[in-house]
Amino acid sequence: MTLSLVVLLPFLGAIAAPLFAQGGRTAIAIASSVPALLALATLFPMWGTLAEGGTIVQSLEWLPQLGINLSFRLDGLSLMFALLILLIGLLIILYARYYLKPQENVGKFYALLLCFKGSMLGIVLSSNLLLMMVFWELTSLTSFLLISFWNHKQDARRGARMALAITGGGGLALLAGILLIGRIVGSFELDDVLAAGDQIKAHALYPYALTLVLLGAFTKSAQFPFHFWLPHAMQAPTPVSAYLHSATMVKAGIFLMARLYPALAGTEQWFFMVSFTGMITLLIGAYVALFKHDLKGLLAHSTVSHLGLITLLLGMGTELAAVAALFHIINHATFKASLFMAAGIIDHETGTRDMRQINGLWRYMPHTATLAMVAAASMAGVPLLNGFLSKEMFFAEALSLNLPGIWAWIPPIVATLAGIFAVAYSARFIHDVFFNGKPRNLPIYPPHEPPRYMKIPVEILVVACIMVGVFPAFSVGPLLQAAASATLAGEVPDYGLAVFHGFNLPLMMSLAAFVGGLIMYSQRQKFFDFHARFREVDEKAVFEAVVSWLVEKARGFTALLENGSLQRYTMLLMVSAIAVAVVPLSGMALIGSNGLTAIDPPTALGAAILVFCTLGTVYIHRERLTSLIMLSVVGLLVSLTFARLSAPDLAMTQISVEVVTIILLMLALYYLPSWTPTEASAGRRNRDLIIAGVAGVGMTLVTLAMLTSPFSSISDYFLENSKPGGGGTNVVNVILVDFRGFDTLGEITVLAIAALGIFAMLRGRELSAPPTDGQGHPWAFDAHPTMLKQMSRPLLPLALMVSVYIFLRGHNLPGGGFIAGLVTAVALLVQYIASGVNWTQARVSMRYHNVLALGLFFATATGAGSLAYGYPFLTTTFTYLDWPVVGKFEVASALVFDLGVYLTVVGATLLALVSLGKLTPAGRPLTRTEARKES
């Protein structure tokens, strides 16, 4: 897995580098260059295989479900890019060493730079499209962080976010495209994809796939209309601009197009989308570059333009064009990187990048000037420099492109026009910076040459420009050959890498561009005036405005939906439930096959009263006490209904829960208004009436249909096994403590939690209570009337006895732990009502927390007891004893479980209600005499 090592090294470096930050800039710079050197060393031996047009693929399975594998591939194309990334990367590291100030966070800088390098290598070396995708988005992220390296600058932050949004967003499109390709080919492995070119292009999804992939490529490579993010990325430190935004990252999109060239290129759609995008970008970039007063701005737009040029070449779809594209990638990387560095030096030494201030630097830094001028000349396409060669090839291709009729003229004209602009802005870069009079109020004056080593990277690159320009075949020939064969996946056309091809049309075009460019520059003022008529749009501001607009709209939209109105949310819930149920129920028979049975008058009367009081509760719900009284009638009648329909346990539970609930609501009502204001509009009320009505009718029909249809359930089993298996004749109770004891365990847990929650919720809170009652009478004074107090005394022992009674019989007759618990709780509550919290609390020996915890303990412990005998949790056992006098009686472990229920109920109920009772504001007179004393 040597190739994966190449990718991995920079990341390891990124982790290691910051450790050297203490050692100063030199130390960290050296440390950071180690990975690149090692990587180069690893790649070097592989050159052999590549020279014979071979490719090296190394693969490791990762996520077969996704078809994403750790597979890497080295061929001419990836090698070419890898070398660019590594070599220029080294130069950048050296350059940055001098560019950064000591007090800056160099550790972070180099770490990020290495991360980026790793990601970039990942892109070019991945042999799996999804893996490439991973690195692709990584470059977006790292570049985001690098652009915002000076995140105290607003422009840096904005530029970074814009870059991230555009390239990251494009990445998502690319992802979709890649997934589509994967769908078509059935694999994301590059070998398979490249081999399946025809299959892909024939497939119905091809148009979508291509569009999505190109979206990714264009955004990354700053193609029109996504080009605007690149100039704003120049807020980054210059080494970053030089590396990411001219030499490498922006080439990723181009690399992708080249990489997938065999798979996607060669169709009409490809031709038009790619070449026209390229053409427009080429022109716009070149045009705008001329008018940028900012050095880096000029270079950035020129970069855009050159990227457009390369795209255009790839779009043309001819082999030679592709070769030219590859060649220009190298050339542009070299001269543009050096130009950026030069610009950085100038910035570094003069303190500004504004060409209106910077003039005549030739006198101050001739060495740098020379380097910059050579590079600029290469950018302009001056012969004997590498820029010239690829541009010649470009012109040639532009001519050889045989479009129908008048269209045939467009490419050459565009090419020449772009050439003219290129020459013009290059000329400006040279003349306006190094000559053109004296510098105007530079922040740093006088400027002088930078430190020796800061120039070395530039020198190396400029030398490269010349070398390639003069001995192309010798210098880059083999590499280009390999890259071309990899890109075209097969036969490479013979192309002459000569310096001079004779006096042909392309040469004429070059000359035209050269002359035209110089004229244009000499006449620049006119153009500047012309250009000045159009006010420039600051894309950052636009982007920011768009985002803010989005945020504002989103906020409005959210506030519209999530308006914090419980009534709406509840309404939505009810309506949803109704909506989903209506459809299936519409097909339901109203009366089932069993038909209706008669009803006796008393029951009918009870039912009528129940319905009446239910509706009454709603009708007068605004008079709270009255509706509460109605409510308790309803509760009473529900209990009677249970009794009438053979459910004694439910009747008892209902009636005892009822009273506790009523006490609870009375306690609450004291702190709440005693009447409800008319809140809702009539419309709202009608809406709710309709919803409630539908729900009511619906439930009526459902119940009716259900009750009249035949039914059989698992319950016979309970009836049969209750006595022999559960040892109890009250089947309901046996179900609760035995068959479904786990439900009951959960149920008492709920009770316990509720009580604890209530306690926690009210802890340390004082509620303000109204001084008078609903009609405005001040509250009466005697809190604990004598008769009530006296009656409550014997009540407690009696109630306890009744509890014991109900508890003990529960297993065989109606009753049980829960009801018994409520009886006890009620009896104690009467003590609180009659004699007050303090009096009663003083006589309760145990904290209710512990009571309910003890209850849970009992229930759980009985359940766990059976584990000891190898039986599952909650397995019960029982036996019959026969004692003298007492006689025969049953002992059941379920009873202990029920005791747990009992304790939990007592503890929970009292904890809840008493902590509510404790809220009453202290210091109210407790008797009339007290009150008289006070007044």
């Binding site: 008769m787 006296q790 407690l796 009339r928």
Partner: protein, 163 residues
Amino acid sequence: MTAERLGFPQPWLTVALFVVWQFLADSVTGASVVMGLILGVVIPQITHRFWPDSPSMKKPWVLVRYLTVVLYDIIVASISVTILILSPRQPRSAFVSYPLQLHDPLGITILANTISLTPGTVSADVSDDGTLLLIHALDVDDDAELIRAIHQRYEKPLLEMFR
């Protein structure tokens, strides 16, 4: 005190509970007796602190006589009230303040209850100092006569028990 140590903080209560358990058990069997005794002893242990001023009753047989009287009166009272309710004429209601001679709060309560259950009277309130009992009479002409009757018929026996 000694009674408490013996485990009978409220002997009368123990008895009462024992009896009540027999009722709950619907019968007097070995089991019910044993259980009744157990509960009669245990429950007061738990609850006696909730009945600090537990009754100190003398002459329990008086209670028996008293109860029979009351039961009889209840029936009569109900009939008289029935007639009144069915008859068209307006009742002559009155609020009467009854001067109490009883002091034991339980005694007072029993008296008040009795009054509420018997001829057209409901005891509406007891003054905080326990000297006055407010009675609402549904249909009465002579307040003094009412007071005298109540004293004779109910408060006297109660005074015998709670002195």
